[in-house]
């Protein structure tokens, strides 16, 4: 059986490396982000320094507390992408950083994940309430 994970792991690593190399850490994405004013840990942070920390995370580094907080605060608003003067997919860059600080490649998580152990059972329970047996058979 092929290793299903290797392709995704390589994809995350390759794109982390690519985007970290292309990012200039100018901080424009950080300045545009609507979550920054809402994150107390970022109150005194310098945009350029935070993004340098994000690049470090993408390069398998430890990052900085502010960079980890910024990656953890990402809610995928996507306004960072049009703000990037290098025309990078900054939202994808931040998505990768967010995955990395949650330990997706097997590292120790630096930000708590949102894993819900009851998710599958809950979804199926709601399906039994809102769908007929025939619909469940066909649709799930």
């Amino acid at each position: 059986m092929p290793d299903l994970a290797s392709g995704l792991v390589a994809h995350i690593r390759d794109n982390s490396t690519r985007l970290a190399a292309a990012c200039t850490a100018c901080g424009e994405c950080y300045r545009a982000c609507p979550m920054v004013p809402r994150a107390a840990a970022l109150n005194a942070a310098e945009p350029e320094a935070v993004m340098a920390g994000i690049r470090d995370i993408l390069r398998d580094g430890a990052g900085t507390p502010e960079a980890i907080a910024f990656a953890g605060a990402c809610t995928r608003s996507g306004v960072c992408t049009p703000a990037c003067p290098e025309q990078l997919d900054a939202a994808f860059l931040m998505r990768l950083a967010s995955l990395r600080v949650r330990g997706t490649l097997g590292e120790a998580p630096r930000v708590a994940g949102k894993h819900d152990p009851g998710w599958s059972a809950r979804v199926k329970a709601f399906a039994r309430l809102t769908m007929s047996e025939e619909e469940q058979t066909k649709w799930l």
């Binding site: 809610t75 608003s77 649709w139």
Partner: protein, 281 residues
């Protein structure tokens, strides 16, 4: 690639949309009415991997199996509903597992068939509507302009403009951030008041399930955009989740027989706490 006339597509409704079987049902009816046969697919068996994103090994397996099932279904287009699923397919699934289909969001498909949809919207829906709009996903699929365009075709319905854009791509993204959902709801009610809206139109399921409780004690209506299109087409439906969430006693509202069918223990542990949780504001 545009969906061709009399096409057959997979409607990938995601997982948490299982709370809204009526929306899945209505989407298939609406698509059929505009010439698209839709086969719904969703739930944990069609996961995009986002629920396990903290572990790429598990997420990869779930995502690959979903892509393989879509490939085996043999339909050229997978029509998405959930923005998380849509973005995961673009960013993490299709680049890793070869796909034999293209992906299109439901709003894009309906906009492309607006000329066929418009004559079907014959029932007046008297409503002054504010769109519940997030920043996210708009850069990928212009839902914040496409949904108002579609709803604007409904006779009697007035779409109202307001610059409010909530962070995140849908409310499930901001819900874990302390105070953010309450802030979003407060700002939404203020915006509705400012423009004179009586109806809040949600786009996504996670926003809808969080916003329906705003109806309590207020003379506003919270409806999903699909509910409004269906009403204009005369398609009967009930938003049961909203009814249960706003019922004084969700158990009584659902009924013992249906709860038993869902599983008493699962209902008590996983469903009932969600239906009984306090309102955000």
């Amino acid at each position: 690639m545009a969906v061709t006339a009399d096409a057959s597509v997979t409607f990938w409704y995601g997982c948490n949309m299982a709370r809204h079987g009526e929306i899945v049902r209505l989407v298939t009816h609406i698509l059929e009415a505009v010439g698209v046969e839709a086969a719904p697919a969703g739930g944990p068996g069609y996961c995009c991997g986002s629920t396990q994103e903290a572990n790429a090994r598990i997420a990869a397996g779930m995502a690959a199996r979903t892509v393989e099932k879509f490939n085996q279904a043999g339909r050229e287009t997978v029509v998405t509903w959930c923005p998380s699923c849509h973005m995961n397919m673009d960013d993490l699934m299709a680049p890793v597992t070869e796909t034999a289909f293209e992906t299109q969001h439901i709003t894009q498909l309906l906009v492309s068939r607006a000329d066929r949809l418009r004559p079907l919207l014959t029932h007046h829906v008297p409503a002054r509507v504010l769109l519940h709009a997030h920043h996210g996903f708009q850069g990928r699929v212009p839902v914040n302009t496409d949904v108002p365009m579609l709803l604007g075709m409904i006779p009697g319905l007035t779409m109202l403009d307001h610059p409010l854009r909530i962070p995140g791509h849908m409310c499930s993204a901001i819900a874990p951030v302390p105070g953010e959902l309450a802030r979003a709801h407060r700002e939404t009610l203020t915006a509705m008041d400012a423009v004179g809206a009586d109806t809040l139109a949600t786009i996504f399921h996670s926003c809808h399930r969080e916003a329906v409780a705003l109806e309590r004690g207020r003379t506003i209506r919270v409806a999903n955009w699909i509910h409004l299109l269906a009403e204009a087409m005369g398609l009967p439906h009930t938003d049961e989740y909203k009814f249960w969430r706003n019922a004084e006693d969700p158990r009584a509202a659902i009924g013992a027989e249906r709860i038993a069918a869902a599983g008493d223990v699962v209902f008590e542990r996983l469903v009932e706490p969600e239906l009984r949780r306090p309102t955000t504001i």
